[in-house]
Symmetry: C2
Subunit: 340 residues, 2 copies
DNA sequence: ACACGAGCTGCAACCGATTGCAAACTCGAT
DNA sequence: ATCGAGTTTGCAATCGGTTGCAGCTCGTGT
């Protein structure tokens, strides 16, 4: 059995209160005593029980992280970032994977909320009202979505899409297809919007081909429709979709980038390993995780403890970065024509 | 603030003890009372504070998971499996990523051990003595390594490697290169051993080309040495390494599988997306996570509470499955020669 | 010699649950 | 009416910490 504060106290010949103070308010206890306590702690390998502390202070030193799918490299990276930053602050992380099941999500988050100080919620499909309710039990920070005046960190999708379109237009592309992710996804909506704006201002034509699963299979499924549009370039919802496109295009004998340029989003590790290596918008994934944790801890340290009452929540925006690899190239000359 | 058991008791007009019993030992309380309590619980949205319960029962309902790198799809899948199974048992999971830093690992695990009932430890580089020490604070289940009589789940590497070699030999390969992972890794050792045995009994020649990082870059680095051996096939430590090999071979103009067959291990999602699609030994990753959790909970439920005193620990073995894709093919005829 | 304040330390209450034990109640039998 | 057995319920102790408050010990100034 692990040593308790009483064991340490006995060994050091002081009261438990003194041990507690020696550890959390060192300047309050006599250096000599402090040393004796430290020795006892060392000898017993004592570490305070966080749970017990949590009962008193109301802070468990634990946060929760909810992601749709850990097997998705994007969320794996994000988790890594959250986890690293949390450890840096000596905070433990509960990880929950909803398995892309929105119905499970609400219940899971509510259950989690009781056990942690705060929650980092990634691209939740829970609706805004539900979110606000949850925010009563625990502080919530949103990733990749902004809503309900809750604090969060999101990517500047508009800017990223503008970079992608600018790159393609510079290569001579005038007709660009867009393979969206799940229709309800915040990212799909904002990326679609960003593409629309960028295309309009850069005099390119945008052809949305619909909504697909944010997976390799989704990309495979979308490929033929992309080809049918006659576009010379395509922007995919994310890298997985883009890689799916690549695979199907290859098996149809359509050459990338000679016949069709492909751009992804995320820059997961796989993007650089694809053939051809994928041009993509790199999103700082671990960075987002780190920032989310900082944001959460800030909210927790705020005087009112939870911060959900405060309407002005901090909202961070992260910019993406265009990574040009081999999947984009000059538009084929045969398809070139005026944009109107 | 969240409702406590006292709030529920007050609302239901009973004592806290009764509420506690109504929730955990329902048959012990009068149905009418039970109903009143249930109503109060419902109305207040009450959920017991796990931490408080943990103080009394000594069981926190929490387990820890330690992995070297979450961004590695292999560990991401494993985490997913652990997480899903744990939730099924209403157990929460702390996830810690050591960032492939063995020195951080020991400390991290010890800290974690105080906060959880048990730990699932993946391919730890901590040494056996350290492990035993840790097992005093919390139950430990090892994944992908067996040691110190601790319970664990591992892959039958020997069998997997035998399948790989048999496949290659059947295709006419007689000289097979082996790109190992980190020398200290348990998997590297066992896979190397399995290959050696399989090669010996199937009359093929095994050429180890050394130890490399278990990453894409490791594969890229190993490729030229593989080529230099003159082998007609190569088995890589894992799929990431295999994909790295594929990339470098491609850029050197070496055709896979016409000139060289490549086999990976793991069957991560990326393996199917590689070009050519990778032949590999599929390891049941989520399954391993699930089994590890079951094992851990079994150990925890054992009469002596921790089980580390019991020398006979359960050890599960999972078999891999050969997945043949496009990266393996008949040995080139020009290189064929007797195996001695 | 005495008062006073500063610096430490310990007592005891408390956080939110669980649980052994005993009290209270119910009901049927004597 | 009394008793005993069985069922339900509450009291109070407990887990491992934290913290307000009071008390103790000194050193110093007068």
């Amino acid at each position: 059995m692990a040593a308790t504060i009483r064991d340490v106290a006995r060994l050091a010949g002081v009261s438990p209160s003194t041990v507690s103070r020696a550890l959390s308010l060192p300047e309050m206890v006599n250096p000599a005593t402090r040393a004796r306590v430290a020795a006892a702690v060392e000898q017993l390998g004592y570490a305070p029980n966080r749970a017990a502390r949590g009962l008193i202070t109301g802070r468990t030193g634990t946060i929760g992280l909810v992601v749709p799918d850990l097997a998705n490299p994007f969320f794996a990276s994000l988790t890594k970032g959250v986890q690293a930053r949390a450890r840096h602050h000596d905070v433990a992380v509960f990880v929950a994977d909803t398995d892309e099941d929105p119905s499970a999500e609400a219940g899971l988050v509510r259950a989690l909320a009781k056990q942690v100080d705060g929650i980092v919620l990634c691209s939740p499909r829970v609706d805004d009202d539900e979110l606000v309710a949850i925010a009563q039990d625990a502080a919530v920070v949103l990733v990749n979505r902004s809503a309900a005046g809750l604090p969060g960190v999101a990517y500047d999708n508009e800017d990223g899409m503008r970079q992608a379109v600018a790159h393609l237009v510079a290569l001579g592309h005038r007709k660009i297809a867009w393979v969206g992710g799940p229709a309800t996804s915040w990212s799909t909506q904002h990326r679609g919007l960003g593409l629309r704006n960028a295309a309009d201002s850069l005099r390119a034509r945008l052809v949305p081909v619909g909504n697909f699963a944010p997976t390799y299979e989704g990309g495979v499924a979308a490929a033929d429709q992309v080809v049918a549009t006659g576009a010379t370039a395509v922007v995919a919802y994310n890298d997985l979709v883009a890689i799916g496109l690549l695979a199907r295009l290859h098996s149809r004998g359509i050459s990338v980038p000679a016949d069709l340029s492909v751009v992804g989003v995320d820059d997961i590790a796989m993007a650089g390993m694809a053939r051809p290596a994928l041009t993509t918008i790199r999103l700082p994934k671990q960075e987002a995780g780190r920032i989310a944790v900082e944001l959460l801890l800030t909210v927790l340290d705020a005087p009112d403890g939870l911060g959900y009452t405060r309407p002005v929540a901090h909202q961070d925006e992260l910019k993406g970065e265009l990574i040009v690899r081999d999947s984009t190239g000059p538009a084929p000359r045969t398809d070139r024509r005026p944009s109107h």
